[in-house]
């Protein structure tokens, strides 16, 4: 058991922190990035590439830097702290995750170097209007033809789907709408005929898109893995993404807690800093307890994200999300309350942390969804 970072990890963390501080230290800059057409600043994406962050989780043989879940955790914590807008999760963790774990050698060769150098952005178009949080609920169809597949259907809430060059799209080649068997994944160019996108801003200042597919043709080598057997891979990549957003949430909670405590020290009422009121002190202390609980579970999620046993991994990640969500709601709400009115304004950063944390809460399943997963399994206490 060892909680220390290696020398390389410390260097990585320092350089990511510096980059994020440079870009987002001045909160007004974030507002200006949001008005860019893609919802983020291209030059910043190039900085991610320069620092090697875009190739981080990929094997060196594939053109990456061989980082593991801990490295991802360090990056995502900084992303959370800075409320960064770039599509790191969409491109590197989700889109890149499918190629990394399910792609053929040819797909890896074609895609990973271009992710790493910042020239190709990906998005994962999977959710559907009726599916809510059920990953197996796929009604979009893929019809096999001699030359490949033809996709029809509608995808919703594809994170950064409007600015992506390449989409990873799920579709059903057989079976009932919610069957575990029969799901396939395809790599589809964003400009493929029959694919239409409607992009929009999300509550937390990021972007997402509705994607409609009408007679979209995908060549046979556009499938990831064995068509019809993709659900396990989807679950794996989503678990990895949940570990990543858990770290992001911890970064955001840490920053929000710090700024709340600072505010308590400086803001005066009735002639004294409001931080001298014991009831507020205790609330700030409870926030710290919640933060440390979430931090512990984000570490746990990082450790379990590449666990070989899928059942064990799935329960562990679900448990992490439950704790992260609980802490996020508690810390977000308490931060607003302790600040008072100022945190309700759009020009103040605290509310934006709260909004991002709220969106993370429902990302790939809310608390109830993940608690069910934990409750349905064997539990988290190893047998004696």
């Amino acid at each position: 058991m060892d909680f220390d970072l290696s020398e390389e990890q410390r260097l990585l963390r320092d350089s990511v922190d510096r980059m994020i501080d440079d870009a987002y230290g001045n909160f007004e800059m974030r507002g200006s990035y949001m008005t860019e057409p893609r919802g983020f600043a291209e030059p910043l994406w190039a900085r991610y590439a320069e620092l090697g962050l875009l190739g981080l989780p990929f094997a060196e043989a594939d053109g990456g830097f061989g980082g593991g879940p801990v490295e991802t955790m360090l990056v995502m914590e900084a992303v959370g702290r800075g409320l960064a807008l770039e599509p790191y999760l969409a491109t590197v963790i989700l889109g890149g995750g499918f190629v990394r774990l399910g792609g053929t050698a040819a797909q890896k060769q074609r895609i990973i170097p271009r992710i790493a150098d910042g020239s190709l952005r990906l998005a994962f178009a999977h959710g559907e209007p009726q599916a809510r949080y059920d990953l197996a609920d796929v009604a979009t169809t893929a019809r096999e033809t001699g030359a490949g597949f033809v996709l029809d259907g509608a995808k919703t809430l594809a994170l950064h789907g409007d600015s992506a060059d390449l989409l990873v799209i799920s579709a059903r080649i057989r079976g009932e709408r919610r069957a575990r068997d029969g799901i396939a994944l395809f790599l589809v160019n964003a400009d493929a005929p029959g694919l239409a996108r409607r992009g929009y801003r999300t509550q937390d200042g990021q972007r997402a898109a509705e994607v409609t597919l009408s007679d979209v043709r995908v060549p046979a080598d556009g499938a990831i893995g064995v068509p019809g057997e993709a659900l396990a891979l989807i679950e794996q990549v989503v678990d990895i993404a949940l570990a990543a957003v858990s770290a992001e949430a911890v970064g955001a909670m840490q920053a929000l807690h710090t700024m709340t405590v600072e505010y308590l020290k400086t803001r005066k009422q009735f002639g004294v800093p409001i931080g001298s009121f014991q009831a507020l002190q205790h609330r700030a202390a409870d926030m710290l307890v919640a933060l440390e609980q979430a931090r512990s579970m984000a570490m746990y999620a990082a450790m379990m994200a590449d666990a070989p046993d899928a059942t064990e991994r799935h329960a562990a990640i679900a448990a992490a999300k439950v704790q992260v969500n609980d802490s996020a709601r508690m810390i977000g709400q308490a931060a607003i309350q302790l600040h008072g009115g100022i945190a309700m304004t759009r020009d103040y950063k605290a509310g934006h942390y709260f909004k991002r944390l709220t969106m993370i809460e429902s990302l790939f399943g809310d608390t109830d969804h993940h608690l069910r997963t934990v409750a349905a399994g064997e539990g988290l206490i190893e047998a004696v």
Binding site: G127, T156, L157, Y200, R201, T202, Q203, K355, T358, M359
Partner: protein
């Protein structure tokens, strides 16, 4: 002891309910229910429909349009307005400045202001809060200095709700800087068209423009716009704030949201059925309902007890109503957001049409924004922490 409504009260409720559904434009009600923000015209329209019926200012003195009702009837009207998702008569007019003028104003002020205020021919906003004051309202610094038959007002107000629509503002201003802080405050009525007033929007985290900063730069206010006596404004402000007795918990609003939440849950697919088929979800709703029922009866106890109490005297239970009422309002917005699930994600963004037509179900687009917006209810009107202080000190003697 009988907790049931009388046949007359039941009949009145039925009458109100029918009237609101018949007379208030249904699209306004739908939009409010979905969490969209209404236009000034929407609000004025509804206010005037109610005023024409005698229901905008029933709690005012009879000669100025009041109805001499029992507290229970007031409560029923208020609850039905909330449950029907009708925008209530503008509180700055009917619950705040109106009663203050009726009680403390002179005859000229009453004639000039009360009818116009009741019919919202004048739209009022409230100039109490100042930057840096927060819950310590009396530490306000906006000052008014006598110059002949005018006051010259300089300073800044903040969190001024709907100032962008307002014709007039009622302000607490400091007229004596030597006195201890509660004793040098006066209550001024100021025409928003007076030169030197600037309104600057504050956009909230849900993207809405509800509140504003209002700046006063050598604003000349005729001395006849002083209400009551100079330096007695704090008393009038306490009277005004003490009037917020029965409305504060907004039971009707929470009921309306729960009713909607149930409808929406029945229409939200989840697994093989809908969210409403999930016993767990229903238990969550049930627990909110239980607490709301308890609070409703607590409120009834206050309402019934109000009969003998003199106006303006705060009821000890109002802090309980504020704390629990705001918690339940927040619980219902949280519930709606969680029902929206993934569709809470797209930005509704200032209700400026950025997400029109909405991604996902119509109502879902505003669920998260409403959740964000409602964090305010445990902050404003005396934060819940201040309410706990009041309970501890004033009632428990700690």
């Amino acid at each position: 002891m009988d907790l049931r409504f009388t046949p007359e009260e039941i009949a009145f409720r039925r009458e109100v309910r029918a009237f609101l559904r018949r007379e208030i434009p249904s699209d306004i009600r739908r939009r409010l229910s979905e969490g969209r923000h209404l236009s000034k015209q929407d609000m004025v329209t509804c206010h005037r429909i109610l005023n024409a019926r005698g229901w905008a200012v029933p709690h005012w003195p009879r000669e100025w349009g009041g109805q001499d009702w029992s507290p229970v009837l007031h409560y029923i009207l208020q609850e039905e307005i909330q449950r029907a998702a009708v925008p209530p008569p503008l509180p700055f007019n009917v619950s705040m400045v109106g009663p203050v003028i009726a009680q403390f104003g002179n005859e000229a002020q009453k004639r000039r202001f009360l009818p116009a205020t009741a019919n919202i021919d004048m739209w009022w906003c409230q100039g109490f809060s100042e930057p840096g004051a927060g819950s310590d309202l009396a530490s306000l610094r906006t000052r008014a200095e006598r110059d002949g038959d005018h006051y010259v007002v300089n300073g800044q107000k903040t969190w001024t709700t709907l100032a962008q629509h307002a014709d007039w503002i009622f302000c607490l201003v400091r007229t004596n800087r030597e006195a201890k802080k509660q004793e040098g405050i006066s209550f001024l009525l100021i025409d928003m068209a007076t030169p030197g007033i600037t309104v600057r929007p504050i956009i909230t985290i849900d993207g809405a423009h509800e509140v504003n900063e209002v700046f006063f730069d050598d604003v000349r206010v005729p001395i006849e716009n002083l209400v009551g006596e100079e330096n007695k404004g704090w008393d009038y402000a306490k009277f005004l704030l003490g009037n917020e007795r029965t409305g504060i918990a907004r039971i009707g609003l929470s009921k309306e949201r729960i009713t909607r939440a149930k409808q929406l849950a029945r229409a939200t697919p989840a697994g093989d059925g809908t969210l409403w088929d999930d016993p767990d979800f229903r238990k969550r709703v049930a627990l909110i309902e239980v607490q709301l029922k308890a609070l409703e009866i607590t409120q009834m106890r206050v309402v019934a007890g109000a009969r003998g109490r003199s106006a303006g005297k705060p009821d000890p239970n109002s802090s309980i109503l504020k704390i629990k009422g705001s918690e339940l309002q927040q619980a219902t917005t949280e519930l709606l957001k969680d029902i929206a699930g993934p569709y809470g994600l797209p930005a509704a963004d200032g209700h400026d049409g950025a997400n029109e037509p909405p991604v996902g179900p119509d109502w879902a687009a505003f669920a998260a924004a409403m959740y964000f917006n409602y964090r305010k209810v445990s902050i404003y009107g005396g934060s819940n922490e201040i309410q706990r202080n009041i309970i501890a000190k004033a009632f428990l003697g700690l």
